[in-house]
């Protein structure tokens, strides 16, 4: 594919086009990804997640500036939510990333979630592949403002930063399952505000309540930052780099990658099967079944088994 070749050769216009192509997720996208795939697996993928307004974009901007100053190339994928009603979206993460403009070693792309839950768009992983293949050393993925359960990012990133701010919830929030569990690095941003020490203590308590050794032998560090002024950004970057070094030193990178690929592949198989299956159910049959369920003549499980059995009988 010409577009892939141009993007791999460093043409930025082609790179942008290619992300549009993979975002569409159609046959052309699959063709492009096939051509890109051998070139992937090199970038350090860093996820940044946290509630809306915690300063994720500002932190991403500062981290990217820090790594650029060290001469490393950085791409940013920033995901914002799509309206469930109109399908439209306002993607505003770039506003906080003005300082990165005009730098050929840095690339920023906004993505709408397009109906996906979990904090990422369906094709975020594929867009990461494009940027990885294009040779960016670090790819930062910023999720949709996430609450408690948007943990999809763990599937795409090697290192996940969870951003907290003072004054969000009590110590019970800190021991709930979900987003706090996925952090490899904690950032308490806006640490110049009242309550920062308390948030820090709650996180420390949460981390040390767990029984036994921390997951993967990694004790997530907590860094207090003021992203607006750049305070402690080098410490966050260092923690992220230490985490990758830890994964490498303990042979954890390959098993993680294996797990990610298995999950990704399973999801693709599932989706393709579903599409194939639904394509074989005539619309009239579907409408009849739905009407019968609505009339309580058949329950949804029975109606599902009936359809699946029929499709498989046909194909044998």
């Amino acid at each position: 594919m010409e577009l892939v070749e141009k993007a791999l050769a460093g043409n930025r216009r082609a790179l942008s086009r290619l992300i549009t192509v993979v975002e569409a997720g159609d046959a052309t996208a699959r063709q492009a990804l096939a051509a890109l795939y051998p070139h992937t697996g090199r970038a350090h993928i860093v996820g940044v997640t946290g509630a809306p307004g915690t300063g994720k974009s500002t932190l991403v901007n500062q981290l990217a500036l820090h790594w650029r100053a060290q001469g490393r190339t950085v791409a940013v994928l920033a995901v914002d939510p799509t309206s469930p009603f109109s399908g439209g979206a306002i993607l505003g993460d770039r506003i906080r990333m003005q300082a990165l403009g005009g730098d050929p070693g840095c690339y920023i792309r906004s993505m709408a979630s397009r109906g996906s839950l979990g904090g990422l768009a369906r094709s975020t992983g594929d867009a990461v592949k494009v940027l990885d293949a294009a040779g960016f050393e670090i790819v930062i993925v910023e999720t949709v403002g996430a609450g408690q359960a948007e943990v999809e990012i763990t599937r795409e990133a090697h290192t996940v930063i969870v951003v907290e701010i003072p004054g969000m919830g009590d110590d019970i929030q800190a021991i709930k399952a979900g987003i706090l569990e996925i952090a490899d690095v904690f950032v308490v941003n806006k640490a110049d505000r009242e309550g920062a020490e308390r948030t820090l203590r709650q996180l420390q308590m949460m981390l040390h309540l767990g029984a036994g050794e921390p997951r993967d032998g990694w004790d997530p560090p907590i860094v207090q930052t003021v992203a607006n002024t750049g305070k402690n950004i080098p410490e966050v970057a260092a923690a992220v780099e230490r985490h990758l070094a830890h994964l490498k030193a303990n042979d954890l990178l390959a098993p993680r990658e294996r797990q990610r690929i298995e999950r990704e592949w399973t999801m693709i198989v599932r989706e393709s099967l579903l599409n194939e299956l639904f394509a074989r159910i005539p619309a009239s049959e579907r409408d009849t079944l739905i009407a019968r369920m609505q009339a309580r003549q058949v329950d949804p499980y029975a109606a599902a088994s009936q359809v699946v059995a029929a499709v498989f009988e046909d194909s044998i």
Binding site: R13, R17, G87, G88, I90, R94, G102, I108
Partner: protein
């Protein structure tokens, strides 16, 4: 698969009034478009770079400062120089009829929307005039 139209909404130059740009951004969102909003005080370079990285179909420029005859042609030149000729560019703000004519005819701005233009007119215009209706390989 149908792809949402992507639009960059930007305010070039030094004017600090962004209520209009926000109203437009919201209207485009409600019309099902993906709007990349870049905020105030954008240089032509910043706008063109963002538009190309975001691979938008359209750039909507809001300008109330009076500097449109300097900034808008500059944006068009930069777009052309960077293989961005297929991006539809529209503008809105306080722009005289004479300037609007010149921007359309000599500089390639597709349409100028003055005060009072309805948001429907704008969304319909964008939908009808973007140059890349589908994804190409």
């Amino acid at each position: 698969m149908e792809r949402p139209i992507r639009v960059l909404v930007a305010k070039p130059g030094l004017d600090g009034h962004d209520r209009g740009a926000k109203v437009i951004a919201r209207a485009l969102r409600d019309a099902g478009m993906e709007v990349i909003y870049t905020g105030l005080q954008q240089t032509p370079q910043m706008i063109v770079e963002a538009a190309l990285q975001e691979d938008v179909d359209c750039i909507g420029l809001s300008i109330l400062s009076g500097a449109h005859m300097t900034l808008l042609p500059k944006i068009m030149q930069l777009l052309k120089a960077n293989e961005g000729d297929d991006v539809l560019v529209v503008a809105g703000g306080i722009i005289s009829d004479e300037d609007a004519r010149s921007l359309r005819q000599e500089h390639g701005i597709a349409e100028i929307f003055g005060p009072g233009a309805s948001t429907h007119t704008i969304t319909d215009f964008i939908r009808a005039n973007i140059k890349r209706p589908a994804v190409e390989g």
